[in-house]
Subunit: 317 residues, 2 copies
């Protein structure tokens, strides 16, 4: 189990008022880490408020604690606690609010140590660190905290399938499973359940998928008409961007969403462990991303990107 520095435990124990902050476009790990940490601190008698004034996925609306988000009553807090947030620029924080100490609890390798105090360990999810902190603080767990820790870890590991999973991740789950939560239904909600429109757009992305370059490149295009037939791009789920990666022969995949007529939102993916950096193409078109996942907006016909994808494949040979 991960050891929490005494300084961090003391800081949480010795202070009384907390404002919790997460990153922009909060995901499952961010929302659920905030819920678990907030409820845990409240269980110790602390005053906890949340500044999480961003929309987030419907599937995450499963915590009673969300009712307390964005009800700030103070201008100054003892501790401004940043969760799952790697840089200050990426934080979603309130203006005109001050705090005595800025504390950062995060699991990103890229963390810039932008606070006053830090508990940063590269683990699968911020929720894994929050669990360690709650244990160190001897917080009595409840079902909502167990549900939140599960949600944080399950979403950030693709249901325990990503390379970030370690022995410690499963140790945390072994503890969490001691609470009477229907984790199976929760898993389905987080990972497999779709609306009819989401399912249909997923099917269209498969129908329109074609292979190129000796089956090593996949391209799928969802037209504007197809998007509109099923409620628009908002119904294209994250897994659509990965469809090509799930085909055994494919090394690079590109998914095009025609969000407006002749305007394409493109997701590029590269398969590990091939020596490919798809972000080079994304950056050329003013987008961004990482080695294996990048995105940008494209104003030409999808097939015009193919030579650039082929060049990446050829470059690795």
């Amino acid at each position: 189990m991960i050891t929490v520095p005494k300084k961090i435990v003391d800081l949480l124990q010795e202070n009384q008022t907390f404002i919790l902050i997460v990153h922009q476009k909060p995901d499952g790990d961010a929302i659920a880490s905030a819920v678990a940490m907030g409820k845990g601190l409240k269980a110790l008698g602390k005053n906890v408020e949340y500044y999480i004034d961003s929309a987030f996925e419907e599937k995450l609306h499963i915590f009673d604690e969300i009712a307390f988000f964005n009800q700030l009553t103070q201008k100054h807090y003892d501790v401004m606690l940043f969760l799952d947030t790697s840089t200050f620029e990426y934080a979603f924080y309130p203006k005109n609010i001050t705090a005595t100490v800025k504390l950062v609890i995060d699991h990103h390798k890229s963390n810039t140590f932008f606070g006053d105090e830090h508990f940063v360990e590269v683990v699968a999810a911020c929720g894994e660190l929050v669990f360690a902190v709650l244990q160190a603080l001897k917080v009595p767990m409840d079902e909502e905290i167990a549900k939140a820790i599960f949600t944080a870890i399950s979403t950030d590991t693709g249901s325990f399938q990503f390379a970030n999973v370690t022995s410690n991740t499963h140790e945390v789950l072994a503890e969490i499973y001691k609470y009477p939560v229907d984790f199976s239904s929760l898993s389905k909600r987080l990972h497999t359940t779709k609306t009819f429109n989401q399912m249909k757009l997923f099917g269209i992305a498969i129908k329109n998928l074609n292979l190129f370059c000796h089956e090593r490149i996949s391209i799928s295009v969802i037209s504007n008409a197809e998007l509109n037939a099923y409620g628009g791009a908002v119904n294209v789920t994250d897994d659509v961007s990965n469809i090509g990666m799930n085909i055994d022969t494919v090394i690079i995949s590109a998914t095009f969403k025609e969000v407006e007529t002749a305007v394409y939102r493109v997701s590029l993916r590269g398969k590990s462990p091939y020596p490919i950096d798809v972000s080079t193409i994304a950056i050329k078109y003013s987008g961004g991303g990482h080695l294996r996942a990048a995105g940008f907006t494209f104003y030409k016909k999808p097939e015009e990107l193919l030579p650039e994808l082929e060049a990446l494949i050829e470059g690795m040979e």
Copy 2:
């Protein structure tokens, strides 16, 4: 951690020749439990042979130990060890081979205790029991055993998402993750990777899916022509049978594969926790199954099944 009865540990320690047997149509849990148990017993100096003379999924062909399957050199063994096998009828066992003791290690609630000695506990996977046995025998683990235990548990739990997962399941994984295996790539192979043809048939099942009865029933039909366009029914992956279950409003789903002209292989699914027994329909058509999952062959048009599905929905109101 699960306790293995001393009698079982003694039986394995005190005997020398073993023949390992699994159930018909062996799945990931069966194959991988056999590999882990076989390699573990060999590490203790035992003579182990395998009678697993059935075809199994390509994705499971990842163990060196498979090379030793079906090379029987004896007519009599000390122990005939049945793994993951709930009934003698369901076992795939060799004729004209005898054993001094029939030992059953299984995790099915429906186990009929058909052997001489039994280690039966209702846990997520037989692999979970095999791990407990190997620990009790103090077998030195290796990477292939770790990979096998992972495969057994990961496949039988739908990547840790089914209701059979417990704290103990994750405890086992916490141990298994201490070995240097690329579990993430293994997960992808077991759960998400498809061939192009498998992906296309998955997409067709979504394209042809329609909702009925206030969006509570889904029916998807894959025609014989569509099957043939992508290599036949062998390329329809298991997840196709569950597509309807993944839609938020659906309670009963039916997937029809037209395996020959006008002959449909039907998979029925019912969503938990609704009080529905889809096996009643399957049994009527000489098929079989459980409350939530059943199958049969249908010789009429798919739409002719709809009234019976609607009657199930109405019956629960």
